[in-house]
Symmetry: C2
Subunit: 294 residues, 2 copies
């Protein structure tokens, strides 16, 4: 199987599961389910679910139902995008080449659609059909902490908002991105590993991998915002500079940022050494994250 075929197969698995897990558009109140599905099926790259399932494969060749756990990560990610795009936050009109949720459904519905996706993520985990209860609980805690205010995604968003008024520094940058995107990417890997029954040693190695690709992902994201057009990105380019965001190129310069992304990629590969062939797709995903152009 080529990597492209692998990604297509796994994305399809996630999409089928999402269609099953999210109430249909005809379900009352219809408008909220339309709003949830609008952003959920807007051409997202499903990076977090892919990471989750590939981490599961590194532990066990077959973990039935893992796609449901993977969907919980996509639900959280999508909620965060909807709320981030709101006028009170990043005030963005364009996401993945389409109008943002509040542009289509209004601010009230966008706020509630985000809340709904966040809530549904935990319902999906509580209803995982093939996961032993103690493992499920650990996964719920993992997702909540990675999404939360202490080193998690919301912490990153708050630091990011506050950072707009602060001098860029390496320390602040590190704090922001470990939390804002890093925590959920790391949790994606950890949740897949936990689901598939990883030992604590395996979990530690995969967490290490998750941290490195999390950083690599954010460095590349910051670089793309400078180097690509809005059309190529499907979202407004050049916004980081316009909003005085603290980014890797702003702190380290473009050249050094490219080097750092490559260094994080190497570190991610090193973390996978003990897994041999079972971590094949995790390696490919890491390469793709660093070499992507949008």
């Amino acid at each position: 199987m080529t990597f492209q075929q692998y990604v297509a197969t796994q994305s399809e698995r996630v999409n089928i599961a999402l269609h099953r897990l999210v109430p249909e558009e005809s379900c009352a109140p219809t408008i909220i389910h339309k709003a949830m599905r609008y952003s959920l099926f807007a051409g997202g790259k499903r990076i977090r679910p892919l990471l989750c399932m590939a981490a599961g494969e590194a532990i066990h060749p077959n973990a039935p139902g893992i796609e449901d756990a993977a969907c919980a990560l996509e639900l959280i990610h999508t909620y965060s995008l909807i709320h981030d795009d709101l006028p009170a936050l990043d005030n963005d009109d364009l996401r993945r080449g389409r109008p943002t949720n509040h542009k289509v459904f209004g601010e009230a519905m966008a706020i509630l659609a985000g809340d709904s996706l966040l809530t549904l993520a935990f319902q999906v985990l509580a209803e995982l059909p093939h996961c032993p209860p103690d493992r499920t609980i650990r996964i719920v805690a993992e997702l909540a902490i990675a999404s939360g205010t202490v080193g998690g995604m919301i912490a990153g968003q708050v630091h990011d908002l506050e950072g707009e008024h602060m001098a860029p520094s390496a320390k602040l940058l590190d704090t922001i991105h470990r939390a804002k995107t890093g925590a959920l990417l790391r949790a994606s890997v950890r949740i897949g590993a936990l689901y598939a029954g990883a030992s604590e040693t395996q979990l530690a190695a995969l967490s290490d991998y998750g941290e490195h690709i999390g950083l690599a992902f954010q460095i590349v994201d910051d670089l793309l915002d400078i180097e690509q057009s809005s059309e190529q990105l499907g979202k407004t380019a050049g916004k980081d500079a316009a909003q005085h965001k603290i980014t890797f190129p702003a702190v380290y310069g473009v050249e050094r940022s490219h080097d750092m992304a490559r260094e994080e990629l190497s570190a991610a590969h090193r973390a996978l050494e003990a897994f041999g062939e079972s971590a094949h797709w995790l390696r490919e995903i890491a390469n793709t994250i660093v070499n992507r152009t949008h």
Copy 2:
């Protein structure tokens, strides 16, 4: 013990647990924890936690750690108030006699504070110290469904927003309130019962109680909005009529609404018959919900 003493004791237990469960104001990023705590410790009546713990007592005289499960309900309730008060939703400046969250911390932080409380609710459940894993998972599912878009709290909010443009009808009113306030009040009772190890028969009876007091609560809420001043309520009075909300007095008239509240109270008492003295405080809470003046 008088009911007043009981409420004071139990509220104190909840407040102590909340202080332990919510990150301190000094924890970085400090602003989000200040915003979360501002609304959480704003003099809420803790009705949902009280219901949860009293339902637990109806099943078992002692359920250690049940106050943590009760706190999850208060976290969800508080998040919903913060988001409901936002300019894009109810646009309210006053809550419990104090400026609303976004008036103090700004809209961006209020949105994130709501998200944070919602996320923390599930973390708290996943970390319940004394609850068997299968019971914990059922509680997580219960809370997520009651807060969600299919017959849950968000469904009620959406119907409520949409209802502003529709003719008031008994059916629409029933749909809105069963979801908007009813689902979480019912879940408060059910989660307490589940935590304490209720049988399915006991759970059904307590669910019945929860539904009746949920309806009674909302009828009284609608009546207070008409009959009391903003000062007495600690929030803007007369808003339902101003916003063309569908309320019990608007559909049934004031007199009939008072009768209905009393009928729901009687039905709630009937649902508790099999529990004898162990449901003493549940009865007192029901009486207080119907007879409150704010």
